[in-house]
Amino acid sequence: MPQKLKHHTLTGLMVLPLFLYLLAFAAVPLFSCVVLSLTDGASNAFPSLDNYRVLFRDDQFGQAFQNTLWLTSLGVSLEVLLGLAVALVLQRLVWGRAFVRAVVLTPLGLPTVVAGVMFIYLFSSTGYVNEFLYRLGLISAPIDWVYGGWRSLGVLLMAELWKVTPVVAFILLAGLESIPETVYEAAAVDGAGAWRQFWHVTLPLLRPSLLMAVVVRAIDAFRVFELPLILTGKSFPVLGTLAYSEYYEYDNPFTSAAAATVLLAIIAACIGGYLFLMTRRPMEGA
């Protein structure tokens, strides 16, 4: 018994520093963010919904909210489609497999700032996309890509796709590789062609990986910050950049915290939804 007790003490001592750290630097700040968002900046009254009232009346917030939802929903859908295509190609490559894998991985490790810089070169009004379209004869005057609205959304989607499709591709590739060859052989014996195999064997068996990819990407996509800050700035606010400018430009930590709390609530809902789906179909989540 004392031996066992000692064992537990040692385990406790080993986990404790990490636990305390995460408590102090993740849990407590998160809590203070919510408290801050419920504190009236002028009178220090708590709890008060004033910050949220100010925020919800603000045009920028409505835009940022919509933009974030569009960017996430379109971004994640496109990433999954494109990521699946890339994963299928990677799985079937025989020649140059290692090289293509290494290239596909490149954007994933790069700092997001660097990706932002690259896409400025592509999408500025004297940038390479305009020049490309001009040489094809499709446009005669340069397009202002980051003017706001759909065009800015498109630019951000491109940059996001470039940066994170590899994550999705590699999650799905691992899923594809875990499907045993014998399943395909059995399907082929039953007379299923390539397309039917994909539709009736690959996709259903890939569902846990697809679900994981969607959730992982959705949580990240809601928090999108650096790319909009660098590429589109004020013309296309998202919740992250709105929270930043509330604090740094308008010097209002209270509304900034409120914007961040809205973001937090969306992410919490997303995680909750995932856990719900996982527990409802326990076999598929593993």
Partner: protein, 271 residues
């Protein structure tokens, strides 16, 4: 077999993937060695016509590079050491817990990776201002650990799990006490995994932007310095700084390639 007949088309399919992935990288490199006349015009050129080293010379001689570089290097190193010191013991203990404890615990640590940075960075910045940690290397390293730790714990718990408990038991039979077992049996076997985790931690800090933006007043890190040139619209400085940032990253990712597993990627890198 049917698959082999299609093989050609699948290989052809890899060409657009390669092209689209590499094109932005190529343009950045090209701009960093191109004369302004080729770039700052309504009709920039795609090919490398004249190569110039002037932007790279400016980067190395202007003196603006060294303080951010030093700060980034040191903060990344502190983050790496701190991550291993805090995460390695915890990951070992977690790896030896029964299954029903292990995964809920690891997942709950992971929750701290899902927090929006703009939400946490604000209270942390306010608190650091009180503690005098704003604008210090220690403060920034502490902030970088928020994102890095859960991930490092995740990798290390996976590493320790692969070390059979039977090895530890036989060492115990031979008369080792628990700390000796950790030092002489577990640690040497886990060293490669620890090295991988350490490199990831270093990389995360080197790449990190948001906390640095909130916590730096006067001394920039390299990503912040790059952002500064972006705001100023200096295309060539942005290109050289961004390339400079990217080089160590590419080297490390190339070295780590075979360790990248889907499980790691789950929370690994964000967009």
């Amino acid at each position: 077999m049917k698959r082999t007949r299609w093989s050609f088309w699948w290989h052809l399919g890899s060409l657009p993937i390669l092209l689209l992935t590499l094109l932005p990288v190529y343009l950045m490199l090209k701009i960093s060695v191109s004369p302004p006349a080729e770039v700052l015009t309504p009709h920039p050129t795609f090919g490398l016509h004249h190569v110039t080293g002037e932007h790279w010379k400016a980067l190395l001689t202007s003196g603006a590079l060294w303080p951010p570089l030093l700060k980034s290097l040191l903060v990344a190193t502190w983050t790496m050491l701190g991550a291993i010191a805090l995460a390695a013991p915890a990951a070992y203990a977690i790896a030896r817990l029964p299954q029903r404890w292990k995964y809920p615990l690891l997942l709950s640590f992971f929750a701290s990776r899902m927090i929006p940075e703009v939400g946490v960075a604000l209270p942390v910045a306010v608190q650091f201002l009180r503690w005098g940690l704003e604008d210090t290397q220690l403060g920034l390293a502490l902030a970088h650990l928020i994102r890095t730790l859960p991930f490092v714990v995740w990798i290390l718990a996976g590493t320790f799990e692969t070390i059979p408990v039977a090895l530890e038991e036989s060492a115990q039979v031979d008369g080792c006490h628990r700390l000796q077992i950790l030092w002489y049996v577990v640690f040497p076997l886990a060293a490669p995994g620890v090295a991988v985790a350490a490199l990831f931690a270093w990389l995360e800090s080197w790449n990190e932007f948001t906390y640095a933006l909130y916590l730096s007043l006067t001394e920039n890190t390299l990503p912040l310095q790059t952002y500064y040139y972006v705001i100023r619209g200096s295309w060539f400085d942005a290109a050289t700084y961004a390339t400079f940032l990217a080089v160590p990253v590419m080297l490390i990712t190339a070295a780590l390639q075979r360790y990248l597993k889907a499980g790691y990627l789950m929370g690994a890198l964000k967009g």
